[in-house]
């Protein structure tokens, strides 16, 4: 057996940034504004290039950094998941084709391109960027869900259930839906990491949120010229972002191995 990072470590890596993102904005700090790149009393992590307290930015900046990515993945799964399930469970081949073929066409679109085009018109709109990131993810999600559902739907279990006159919902939601959950859970892990990257890159490039927004990625971007003067202004938001993606990567890796073991056990 491979020695693996303990579950507690991966979970902590994901949970700490998540908790900071959700509850951080509720913590009243209200520190006085300081000089740019100051370190000293009153500012445990110093100040950033605009004289804002880094700790305060850290507490407030997760909402957009993680919220946009998680929101995008949720939307992508709502849309892509439904498309994939319908395509897999329909008995009419043309419905399957009509749903999946157009996605094949969209698949090779470079994601940052779609987002920069969206950014031309809806600058600094968190909603527009979230929707764009979701749209980029829909084709792959739909195909993944379809493949997983087809695997389950073509097996003998479904045939048996059908012969026992199990209800449509019983077969589709009860059996196929549950069979899809394994691969989906592993995919969500990597997909959230990718979405966080994408949202962060967009914000870093200045195509997304405004350059003064209190967002982790924007903070890294804006304060990078002060890295040697006041490293915490860059390192703190970068670390918390990396902790989240690393944690999710580890969890996804664990899930992939578990599903693979389960598949091997079945054989």
């Amino acid at each position: 057996m491979r020695a693996r990072t303990p579950l507690a470590v991966s979970a902590a890596l994901v949970l700490i940034p998540l908790l900071v993102a959700v509850f951080g904005p509720l913590i009243p700090l209200d520190p006085a504004a300081g000089l740019p790149y100051e370190r000293g009393p009153g500012h445990p992590l110093g100040t950033d290039g605009l004289g804002r307290d880094v700790l305060e930015l850290l507490l407030v900046g997760g909402r957009t950094a993680l919220g946009m990515a998680v929101g995008a993945v949720v939307i992508a799964y709502l849309v892509g998941g439904v498309i994939g399930l319908v395509a897999a469970s329909t008995r009419h081949r043309w419905i399957d084709e009509a749903l999946i073929r157009p996605l094949d066409v969209l698949l090779p679109l470079p994601s940052l391109l779609v987002i920069s085009v969206v950014a031309v018109g809806w600058r600094a709109s968190a909603l527009a960027i979230t929707l764009a990131v979701a749209m980029v993810n829909v084709p792959t999600v739909a195909r993944l869900v379809r493949a997983a559902a087809l695997d389950a739907a073509s097996g003998p279990v479904v045939e048996a259930l059908r012969m026992q006159r199990e209800s449509w919902a019983g077969i589709h939601l009860g059996f196929i839906g549950r069979a899809v959950l394994g691969p989906v859970a592993a995919d969500v892990g990597t997909r959230i990491t990718l979405a966080v990257f994408l949202v962060a890159s967009v914000n870093f490039l200045g195509l997304g949120l405004s350059p003064t927004a209190p967002d982790w990625a924007v903070s890294v971007s804006r304060n990078r010229e002060g890295l040697l003067l006041q490293p915490w202004a860059v390192i703190a938001p970068a670390l918390i972002l990396v902790a989240f993606t690393l944690g999710f990567n580890l969890l996804a890796d664990r899930l992939v191995h578990r599903t693979r073991r389960m598949v091997e056990a079945k054989r």
């Binding site: 870093f204 200045g206 971007s221 990078r224 040697l228």
Partner: protein, 312 residues
Amino acid sequence: MRWYAAQRAALAMLQLAVLSVLVFVLTALLPGDAADLRFTETLTPDQVVRLREQLGLDRPAVERFTHWLGNVVTGDLGTSLISGGPVVDIVKASVGATLVLTLTTLAVVVPLAVALGILMGTRENGRLDRAITSVTLGLSAIPDFVIAVVLVAVFSLKLGWLPATWVGGELLASPALLVLPVAVLFGRTVCLLSRQVRAGTITALQAEYVVQARRLGVPRRRLLLRHVLPNAAVPGVQELARTGDTLLGGVLVVEAIFAIPGFATALVDGVETRDVPVVQGLTLVLAVAALLINLGADLVCNRLVPRTELLR
């Protein structure tokens, strides 16, 4: 093979058609245009109207689309609303730096990823495999821009070994400029690729034909290179096509950080000034490149393992 290539090429043509419509619709839908954005402060409203007429922004979208498409087919991507120069020139001026960055990265990444992948795959769950897997897993969790910021801080600001930004001149003429950008791009791509090659190697090693070849006494080296590698390479090549996406995102970020005048700079500028023809042109060129990469990857996979089918 030929039938597959023909089918695949037909799909690519269809994709191209849909893409060009999509690029145009997305940019045409945008609220506001360059005439609004740039001139409202200096021009009177009826001057804006006249300008819009001159730029052709007042005509219906369908007419603009057919006009645009007709020009695109003949190699004319329109003129920039801001500089007034042809978009083709902007594309030409910016393509070089991006190509150099991408190709250099690939030249470093591909051989290394294949070697690492086979190394890991042949020692599944061995100590070396576990060590490399942990490193790649960790490295692939760090966003490009974080790596870039840290590398710049250490190697150019602190140690002063390498230049932090592009200062002019040819990229190829001064390899020192390329070291940091390529190092940034290298990290994540090599992780993604080597993991795919590793998985492919493990699957291929367990396949019956390999077991049989081994039984027949095929030497290990030949076994790996002739029998395992072609099959192991398939997920790798497919991942490479998908990595194109990751790589492109990375290239955009890297260009922005190191101030390299490539596609990203042109694209971000275009987005900022709402220069629709420039964004359309750059997007179309990049999308076509992505299509061709995918087409190429599929054809290579089919050549390596002819059983792969287009219609799943």
